[in-house]
Symmetry: C2
Subunit: 207 residues, 2 copies
């Protein structure tokens, strides 16, 4: 009998991270058979999330295990987007990890690490022009719940992280599994949302 692969998803935690950006994908992966989910801090100190929730990371950047999916949630991203340890780690993870999923303003960290070059991407509707200016060698897409561009999946604001994670489940394990997960977390909007994906990898200017 073939052994079933177990997919490990990891979620980056940092001070000021938005709790729903973390919890949407965490719950989706936790509710999916053959997925587990861990959290990764810059170190393993407790992290004050946005608006008062404190989370304790399972791993630090240094001892983070192999991940199939790395989630970059949005939040007070400006505090870490010039942290070289984080950016170098992200660049390394983008090679080792199957998929990167940014939620909301998490895409700004991917931009800072140069990982949006040649990609389509999206973010919270209030910040899309700013993100385009920071990632000029890729293309910001409006009015989508998420974009899928090679190994980078980027979602719109906050609650769209649920759909981005369901899309990850679909890519890795198939549409049936994603539907089961959506039912388990009682998310009746998955089928309509799943029509809204934009799949392209654009030719980046100058490439």
């Amino acid at each position: 009998m073939k052994e079933q692969k177990v997919y490990r998803s990891g979620i980056l935690l940092y001070p000021g991270v938005e709790i729903l950006n973390v919890a949407g994908p965490a719950e989706v992966f936790a509710a999916t058979e053959n997925f587990n989910v861990v959290s990764i801090g810059i170190n393993t100190e407790p992290v004050k999330a946005n608006k008062g929730f404190t989370l304790v990371p399972d791993y630090s950047l240094e001892d983070c295990p192999y991940l199939d999916v790395l989630v970059i949630p949005g939040g007070a991203i400006e505090k870490i987007q010039s942290n070289n340890d984080v950016l170098l780690w992200l660049q390394a993870m983008s090679i080792k990890t199957n998929l990167l999923l940014s939620v909301c303003t998490g895409a700004f960290l991917l931009a800072a690490a140069g990982l949006l070059d040649g990609k389509t991407y999206t973010t919270h509707h209030q910040f899309i022009d700013k993100l385009q200016s920071l990632a000029p060698y890729g293309k910001a897409i409006r009015n989508l719940r998420y974009t899928d561009s090679g190994n980078i999946i980027a979602t719109a604001g906050v609650s769209a992280g649920i759909e981005g994670a369901l899309h990850v489940v679909r890519r890795l394990t198939g549409a049936g599994t994603a539907l089961n997960t959506a039912s388990r977390i009682e998310y009746p909007y998955w089928q309509q949302a799943s029509q809204g994906v934009h799949k392209t990898t654009i030719a980046a200017p100058g490439y």
Copy 2:
């Protein structure tokens, strides 16, 4: 000039609580002007949420401040539904607090405290018959995202907590505020979901 009321919402944390049940309402309240959100543990020890997330409560049952809304998220509820300290606290809170919001299997804790008597209520679709059997003096309603029955708002599974919290915002501060919050967290399903509320208080048998 009239001073604007600030609403304080509190979320009960306990071992095995489902992270999205916590984070959905937390994010909604955090994204709403004139709302803040705190977390309450049985004590203030760090709490292992479902599937590995650790949360640190702001308050314990004993030093919990006045709340306008108390959220009871679902999760491993069987571990606390026979805890008398929790049940007595809940009964006291149901008198002091403006609204109680249960998410998913959180309704089982309200049932254990006798707070669903004479109410309509709902829960995760897999558990609705079981809940009806535990709260026979109230009425379980199927196929709704949430019920509103006096001071008790109960939602369907997991992600429906987002809508239950948006409904709380609407009840306390008006439909415009709830729409603004839904936009801020990019939750495009609020308008369609907000049609699905069932508002009744039934006459309980034997009353």
